[in-house]
Amino acid sequence: MNHPQIPQRQSAITRRAALKLAGGGLGSVALSAMLQAEQPAHHAAKAKSVIQIFCPGGMSHVDTFDYKPELAKRAGKPFDPDGKLQFFASKPGNCQPSFWKFRQHGESGLWVSGLFPKLATCIDDMAFVYSMHSKTALHGPGCFMMNTGFTQPGFPSMGSWVTYGLGSESQDLPSFVVLPDPRGLPPGGIINWGAGFLPAVHQATTLDAIDPQNPIVDLFPTGDAPNSSGPGASSGLDFLQQLNRRHLDQRRGNTDLEARIAAYELAARLQLSAPEAADVSSESLLTQQAFGIDDPDIGPFGRQCLLARRLVERGVRFVQIYCGAENTTAQKIRPNWDSHEDLPRDHGYWGRVLDTGASALLNDLKSRGLLDETLVMCTTEFGRQPAAQGARAAGRDHNGGAFTAWLAGGGVKGGVGYGATDDLGYQAAEHPTYSYDLHATALHLLGLNHEKLTYYHNGIQRRLTDVHGHVITELLI
C-alpha cells in the first residue's frame, strides 16, 4: 500500500479541486462538483446503471430457486438427529421440502419453484448465484452486510460507493435513489442506504412513490411559503442569490461558496424534474397493468419497479427498491420475508409481489432496449433453513449458511447458475460466496475495480469489499 495522500477535508468539493485546473471557470467547477459530475471509470463499463431489489427478512432459497430433490426424499425425517444445532430462534425441526413444486424453465432449463410463475418466463435473462452465504443470521447485521459489506452499522452502502466512484449522469436528478417499502423501513433502518463515512452527498435520496407531487422530503415548502422556483413565479430565490453573489465577490476563489449558490439552482431544477420522474400516469395503461400498480397488495412494489425504470431512463445511476419492511405494526401477515411460523402464507404473499414487479421490470427494460445497460440485482439478507420451524412445522428459521441472489442485464449472461449448496440447501458448498464477490462483480460491470474504489477513514483505506472479493467471471457476457 502506498502512503495515502489525505486531502485536507475529503469533501466532495475539495476532492475535485483539481478540476479547477482543467479550466471552465469557477461556476462550472462548483456546479460539476455539486452534481457529482461523471467520474472516469477504471475500465470500460457494461452497465450504466443499477436497479437493486432488496428482500428484507431473509428469502428462502429452497422454496424459490434452489431445487433440492434430496430434501423432498428426506421429508419429515429429523434434520439434526444429534440435536447439536441451535438456529437463530429454535432447534431444527424435520426436513421440510419446498412448499412449492419446482419445474425447469426456458432454454436454459434452470429450476424455479411455482412461487414465481412470471419470473420463470424471464429465466433465460437471469443469472443465479446459488452459493451465497452471510457472516450473520441476524436481520440488522444481515441487511448491513448485503448493503455495505460489513455486519456493523456505519459503512457506506453500495449505491453510495457507486456514486462516489462514478458520479452522476443526470443533471437534474440525484444519482442514488431509494424506494423503501411503503409499509416501513427495513431492519437497521435508514442507514441501510446511508453514506456511512462517505460525504453526505453520496447518501440515497428517498423517493416517495405514493406522493408523486411531492416525492422528496422538503422539495416544496409547506403552507403559504412561496416556492423557491417556478418559471415566472415571483421568487425569493433571486434575492438570496443576489446576497450570496455580493458575499462571494469579497471572497473570490472560494469554491465552497460558489457551490452553495449552485446548490440552490440545482434544488430549483429538482423541483421540476423529480415530480415529473415520479409521475407514472403518463405510462401506457398496458404498462401500468403489467406492473400491477392498482392492485392493493402488489401495487406499491409494482409502482416502485416502474419508477425505477423511469429513473434509470433519466440518468439516475443507482436505484434501490425494498420488497418488504421491518419495523411496522402491521398485523395481518409478516411485513417481510421473515417466515418463522407460516412460510406458505408469508412467502406466498411476498412471492406474488416480487414475481409481478420484478418480471414486469425485466420485460419492460428489455422491450425498451434498456436491459443491456441496466444491471438488475435481487438480494436478500440470508436464506432459510431446510428444516421446519414452529408447532405446525410451517415456518423456517434464519440460515446464514446459504441463499440465492440473482442478476440480470447490464453485461450479465442469461440462464446461468453459479455455485451450489449441499444436498439439503443447508450450507453453500460449491464456490461459497459472501457479499464481496457479488459487489465486486456489480462494480466491475459498472467499470469500477473494487480494489481501487477506496476511501480513507480512521486509519484504513476502506472498500465496499473490505479485503476480499473476486469478480464472478462465469456470470459475465
Partner: protein, 996 residues
C-alpha cells in the same frame, strides 16, 4: 515445473553460489535469511490462512511444506520460484519486487548449509512503521524559533518559522466584527448578540480580545459546544442501534458529564481516567462513575447479544461489541488504529494481533447496561420502597375488607394483594413460578405435570397441565383426566393480556380497560391460589373471624386468540374438584360463579389448547373476583376506621412518590472477565492461545497488567493509567492536535484519530510537541491550550486570501493552507446552524442538562418506530447537543447538514454541499416556522420601520449592518414577499452559515 528444475540444474546459479559459500562465513538465519522471507514472502505465506497452504512462519511449517530440502538448494522448490526461468520472470513473489541476486544467493547458501531454522524463531510480516515512528517517540521540549514575528505567543513563532521557509507572509488580522463572530461560534457555537458585537468593536482596551476570550471560556455554553466535538469521537447516541433500536433512556448523564467536565476545565488526564475506569478509581465519585458512559456510548446489538438462541451468533456479536469499545478507546485517546490488528498483525503500525487481544481482554469483563450511580442509594431506596409498598398493601386490604369489595385475582397474579397493589403486565412462568415482565413466545424445556411454587404468599403455585396426572398444589393434590393438549407452553400467566393476545374484549367488555382486570392464561398453563393465605391477609385486621369467611368466585371467561371455532379449554377446580369447564373460540364467553366454603384451601384455574398446539390458544378470565358472600354492613365505627385508613393510605402513597428513584445511567457493568483468546483471522469460532490483559508496547513501562486473575476494574484501571500517563507519547499529542483541528478546521496532523503510518504527518512537529508539553506544564488544562490557540495572531488572521503582500503565490505553494498563511473559513456544523437559527429567531431555550429533547413520535414495536415531527415548541428549542439521538432513524434535517452517523467514530466531519441541503434549509417546516418567529421578533423589538427591521436582522444574523445596496435589495424583497420571506432568505444566506 520440470522445465524450471532443468533450468536451475543447468544454470549458473549453482556454480556461483557454491563458490561464494566456500569464501564467506556461514549464513545466520535470523540476521540474513529471516528479513528476506519476512519482506517478500510472509504477506501471503504467513501464519494466518496461508495461500496455497504454504506457511513460512515457523520452522515446523516450512519443514512440513517440503519446499526446502536442506543441503540441496538445486532441488528446493523455494529457490526455483524466486528466480527467472529463462525469459520468464520469477513466479514469486506474485506482488512486489523480485528478489535481488544477492538475496537469492543468501537463500541458496542457507539451504546448502543445512537450512538451519531455530525452533523458537517465528517470522511475522513487518509493519511499515516500527518503534522508531515519529509519534511513538517521547514528547520533546522544542525551543521556540526566533522569527520576525512581534507576537509574544510562541505559537506564532512556530508557525512563522514554517512560513518563512516557503517565503510566505502571514495575513493581516481580521476586523473585529469578523473576530467576535469567529470566536463566538468557535467557543460557544452560537452567534454573538448585536450588543456584544457593539461593545467589543468599541472596546479600545489593549487586552479587549483576551478579555473576550476569557469571558467566553468561562461561559457555560462553552461546554455545550465542545462536548459535541467529544461526543462525535465517542459515537454517542440515545438508542442502541441495530435491528431493535431501543431507547437508551439513561444515556444522557454521560453527555452532561462531558459538558460539565469541559466547563470545569477538568484536567485532561483525569477526564480520561474517569471515562475508562471511573468506577475503579481509589475514590470513585458519582461523577467519575457516570463517566464510564464513554465506554458504553456506541451501538449495541440487542438481538445478537440477548435475543438469539444461537451461541455462534452471540459470540460474533460480542466480538464486534468488544472491537467497537476498544477501537473507540484507542483511537480517541492515543490515535492508534489497534482495530487493524484484529485479524492479523497490523500491516502499518507496530501492533501485534496478540496485543489486540490483550486489549480485548482489558474490556472482556465489561457489559453495556443501565446501572445505578450509587448502589448504596439503590439498596436504601429498594428497602424503603418495599417497606412502604407492603404497608400500603396491608392498609388497602383492610380498606377493601371494610368496604366489602372483592379481591381481584388478576392483581394477585401481578404480585399484589388483590386490592390494586400489583403491577399490570407482570407474568408468572408456568414452568418455574418466576416473575417475568418481557413478552415471551414458544417456551422451551417444558415439563407437563410439574408443579412450581411462587414467591407470592397468596399463590400456592403454577404448573403446565399434563393430559394424565397433574400435581396442582404444594400439598400434593393431583388431578387426572385433564383435556388432551400438545404439552407445549407459550408466554406467561399474566395480570393483563398475554404477549400474543389478539383481543382483550370478551363479550362486549374490554377487560384490559380502566375499571376492569383480567388474567391472561396462555395455554397450556395452570395456577392455584392459596385461599387460606388470602383469607388471612385480607381479614386479620378487620373484625371478621377468618375461619368463617366464605367467598364467591366470579369471572367472565373468554378466548383471547384468533381462532373462531372453539379451540382452547378452561377448567376451574376447587381443592382438586372440577367446578367449571368449557371449550371456547373467539366469539364465546362463559360466566362463572362458584361458591367457596370457608374450609376450601385451593382455587385452581387451568387453560389447555385442545391438543392442536396453536401458538395463540389462550384463555382470559375477565374481572376474576373473590367476594365475601355475606358482606359486613358498615356501621359508624367502621366508617371512622375507614376514614382513618384512607388518610393513612394517602400519606403512605405520598411518601412512596417522594421517595424518588435513585439516578441510573447507561454505562458499563463490571463482571468477571472470561478467558480471551487470539482469534484466528478474527473468527470467534477459531480461538487460539489465550492471552492476559495488556496494552501496546510503548509508553509507560511500569503499568502492571498481571494475569487472567485480574478483575475487570483493575484491568481498566491499568489501561487508564497507561493512557493518562505523562510518559505516553501519544495521549498529549493527540488531544492538542484535536483542539487545533477543531479551532482551525484541520489539525497539525490531518488525521486526528490516526497517528500511525496510515495517517498524516505533522506539518509543524515542533509546535505539536510544544503544545503537548505546554499541556503537561499547565496541569493538563485544556482551557489553557484553547486560550493559547485563539489568542495567537495566527488564529486572528483574516481568512480571505490577501495575495498582494505575498512574495510568492500562496495558492501555488500551499493551496490547502496547511502552513496557515491565513485563517480557514468554515461552514457551521449541523448543530450550530440549528442553534443559530433559534438564537436569531429569539426562540432558543437555554435550559441545560437532563434528558434530551425528542423531536419525534415514538411507537413501541418489535423494532421501534421513530417518526420525526417539526420542532415547534419551547421544549424542542433547546440546543442541539441535547437532542435525543436515534441511530437507525437519523434526523434527516441534521443529516442533510452533515451531522454524522453515530455508528461511526467521527474525528472530523465531512462538509458537503448538496441540493437536498438547500431544500432542507429553504423548505423544511422548522426553518419556515423559525423565519416567521424571526420576523415577529423584528416587528416586536424594532417597530414598524422597515429600515430598522433590516438593520436589526443583519445585526442579529450576520453581526454587521447592511450596505446601501443590500438595504435597497432588502426593502425590495420585503415589499414584494413580506418580512418573513426576507428572514427566510437571511437564514439561507451563505454568510449566515459560513464563518470567515
Amino acid at each position: 515445473m520440470c522445465s524450471v528444475i532443468a533450468t536451475l540444474l543447468c544454470g549458473g546459479v549453482t556454480h556461483s553460489a557454491t563458490e561464494i559459500s566456500t569464501e564467506t562465513p556461514t549464513v545466520n538465519f535470523e540476521r540474513d535469511v529471516a528479513p528476506i522471507l519476512e519482506a517478500n514472502c510472509l504477506r501471503c505465506h504467513g501464519s494466518e490462512s496461508p495461500d496455497g497452504d504454504f506457511s513460512l512462519s515457523t520452522a515446523t511449517s516450512w519443514r512440513e511444506s517440503g519446499f526446502v530440502i536442506p543441503g540441496k538448494p538445486e532441488q528446493s522448490h523455494l529457490l526455483m520460484v524466486v528466480q527467472p526461468d529463462g525469459d520468464e520472470p520469477p513466479t514469486m513473489p506474485k506482488e512486489g519486487k523480485h528478489l535481488t541476486q544477492s538475496e537469492v544467493t543468501i537463500l541458496h547458501r542457507w539451504i546448502l548449509a543445512g537450512a538451519e531454522w531455530p525452533e523458537a524463531v517465528t517470522l511475522r510480516v513487518r509493519s511499515k512503521a516500527d518503534s522508531t515512528w515519529w509519534s511513538l517517540q517521547p514528547v520533546s521540549q522544542p525551543v521556540m524559533p526566533k522569527t520576525a514575528s512581534t507576537s509574544n505567543n510562541p505559537i506564532d513563532h512556530f508557525v512563522r518559522a514554517k512560513l518563512d521557509e516557503k517565503d510566505l507572509t502571514p495575513s493581516p488580522a481580521a476586523d473585529r466584527r469578523v473576530l467576535i463572530r469567529r470566536l463566538y461560534f468557535d467557543l460557544l457555537g452560537l452567534p454573538p448578540t448585536p450588543e456584544a458585537v457593539k461593545e467589543f468593536v468599541a472596546d479600545s482596551r489593549p487586552k479587549a480580545f483576551e478579555q473576550l476570550v476569557d469571558q467566553l471560556l468561562a461561559s457555560q455554553h462553552f461546554g455545550e459546544r465542545w462536548a459535541r466535538h467529544w461526543l462525535d469521537i465517542a459515537h454517542y447516541a440515545d438508542t442502541h442501534g441495530f435491528e431493535r433500536d431501543k431507547l437508551r433512556d439513561h444515556a444522557w448523564p454521560y453527555r452532561d458529564y462531558v459538558i460539565r467536565s469541559f466547563n470545569a476545565d477538568k484536567p485532561y488526564d483525569q477526564f480520561l481516567r474517569e471515562q475508562i475506569a471511573g468506577d475503579a478509581l481509589d475514590h470513585p465519585t458519582d461523577e467519575s462513575i457516570v463517566a464510564t458512559g464513554f465506554l458504553a456510548a456506541g451501538p449495541w446489538d440487542f438481538v445478537g447479544q440477548v435475543e438469539t438462541k444461537s451461541p455462534i451468533l452471540r459470540r460474533a456479536a460480542r466480538a464486534l461489541d468488544l472491537d467497537d469499545m476498544l477501537t473507540q478507546v484507542m483511537t480517541s485517546t492515543v490515535g492508534m488504529t489497534a482495530n487493524c490488528a484484529r485479524c492479523h498483525d497490523h500491516k502499518l503500525d507496530p501492533i501485534t494481533q496478540r496485543e489486540y487481544y490483550q486489549l480485548a481482554a482489558v474490556f472482556a469483563g465489561v457489559r453495556r447496561d443501565n446501572r445505578d450511580i450509587n448502589p448504596q442509594r439503590r439498596e436504601h431506596y429498594e428497602a424503603e420502597k418495599t417497606r412502604l409498598t407492603s404497608t400500603v398493601s396491608q392498609v388497602a386490604a383492610q380498606i377493601g375488607q371494610l368496604q366489602g369489595d372483592g379481591l381481584d385475582l388478576a392483581d394477585i397474579v401481578g404480585g399484589g394483594n388483590g386490592f390494586g397493589t400489583g403491577k399490570k403486565g407482570l407474568g408468572l412462568d408456568a414452568r418455574t413460578g418466576k416473575i417475568q415482565e418481557r413478552p415471551f413466545g414458544d417456551l422451551g424445556n417444558v415439563k407437563p405435570g410439574n408443579f412450581a411454587a411462587c414467591d407470592s404468599l397468596l399463590i400456592d403455585g403454577v404448573f403446565v397441565p399434563a393430559s394424565g396426572q397433574t400435581r396442582i398444589s404444594s400439598t400434593g393434590l393431583i388431578v387426572n383426566n385433564l383435556p388432551a393438549n400438545s404439552g407445549k407452553a407459550w408466554d406467561m400467566i399474566r395480570h393483563g393480556p398475554v404477549s400474543s393476545q389478539y383481543s382483550t374484549t370478551l363479550g362486549n367488555i374490554d377487560y384490559n380497560s380502566a375499571g376492569h382486570s383480567m388474567i391472561g392464561l396462555h395455554a397450556n398453563a395452570g395456577i392455584t391460589f392459596d385461599l387460606a393465605a388470602i383469607r388471612n391477609a385480607g381479614n386479620t385486621r378487620t373484625a371478621l373471624d377468618v375461619s368463617t369467611v366464605e367467598y364467591r368466585f366470579s369471572a367472565v371467561v373468554g378466548y383471547g386468540g384468533r381462532t373462531v371455532e372453539p379451540s382452547a379449554e378452561f377448567r376451574v377446580h376447587l381443592d382438586g374438584e372440577l367446578k367449571s369447564t368449557g371449550r371456547l373460540g373467539r366469539n364465546d364467553t362463559a360466566n362463572i360463579s362458584i361458591e367457596i366454603p370457608a374450609t376450601s384451601r385451593f382455587l385452581t384455574l387451568i387453560s389447555t389448547d385442545g391438543g392442536n398446539g396453536y401458538g395463540h390458544d389462550q384463555i382470559s378470565f375477565g374481572d376474576p373476583r373473590l367476594t365475601i358472600s355475606t358482606p359486613a354492613t358498615i356501621n359508624d365505627d367502621r366508617q371512622e376506621q375507614l376514614a382513618r385508613l384512607e388518610q393513612k393510605r394517602a400519606s403512605l402513597e405520598a411518601d412512596l412518590r417522594s421517595l424518588g428513584e435513585p439516578p441510573e445511567f447507561y454505562g458499563v457493568v463490571s463482571e468477571a472477565p472470561p478467558a480471551v483468546h487470539i482469534l484466528s483471522r478474527g473468527n470467534p469460532e477459531a480461538p487460539g492461545d489465550s492471552v492476559s490483559p495488556g496494552t501496546l508496547g510503548f509508553g509507560k513501562a511500569d503499568v502492571q497488567f498481571g494475569t487472567n486473575d485480574m478483575p475487570d476494574t483493575s484491568r481498566r484501571r491499568a489501561l487508564a493509567d497507561w493512557i493518562a500517563s505523562a510518559d505516553n507519547p501519544l495521549t498529549r499529542r493527540v488531544i492538542v492536535n484535536r483542539l487545533w483541528h477543531w479551532h482551525f478546521g484541520t489539525g497539525l496532523v490531518n488525521t486526528p484519530s490516526d497517528f500511525g503510518f496510515g495517517g498524516g504527518k505533522p506539518t509543524h512537529p515542533e509546535l505539536l510537541d510544544w503544545l503537548a508539553d505546554e499541556l503537561l506544564r499547565s496541569g493538563w488544562s485544556l482551557k489553557h491550550i484553547h486560550r493559547l490557540i485563539v489568542t495567537s495572531q495566527t488564529y486572528q488572521q483574516t481568512s480571505v486570501p490577501v495575495v498582494v503582500n505575498q512574495k510568492v503565490d500562496p495558492a501555488a505553494v500551499d493551496d490547502d493552507n496547511r502552513l496557515l498563511w491565513r485563517m480557514n473559513s468554515h461552514r457551521l456544523e449541523a448543530e450550530a446552524v440549528r442553534d443559530s437559527v433559534l438564537a436569531v429567531s429569539g426562540k432558543l431555550n437555554h435550559e441545560m442538562f437532563g434528558p434530551g429533547y425528542r423531536d419525534f413520535d415514538y411507537k413501541e414495536a418489535y423494532a421501534p418506530i421513530y417518526t420525526y415531527q417539526t420542532a415547534d415548541s419551547p421544549p424542542l428549542w433547546r440546543r442541539s447537543v441535547y437532542r435525543f439521538i436515534v441511530r437507525t432513524t437519523p434526523q434527516q434535517f441534521m443529516t442533510a447538514l452533515d451531522c454524522p452517523d453515530p455508528a461511526n467514530l467521527t474525528p472530523q466531519r465531512n462538509v458537503t454541499t448538496t441540493a437536498l441541503q438547500s431544500l432542507a434549509l429553504y423548505n423544511n417546516e422548522f426553518m419556515l416556522k423559525q423565519s416567521r418567529y424571526f420576523a415577529e421578533r423584528l416587528q416586536r423589538e424594532d417597530g414598524s420601520s422597515v429600515d430598522d427591521q433590516i438593520e436589526r436582522a443583519f445585526q442579529l444574523a450576520l453581526a454587521r449592518s447592511p450596505d446601501g445596496t443590500e438595504r435597497e435589495l432588502s426593502r425590495h424583497a420585503i415589499a414584494e414577499h413580506g418580512l418573513w420571506q426576507f428572514c427566510r432568505t437571511i437564514l439561507n444566506a451563505n454568510e449566515f452559515v459560513y464563518i470567515d
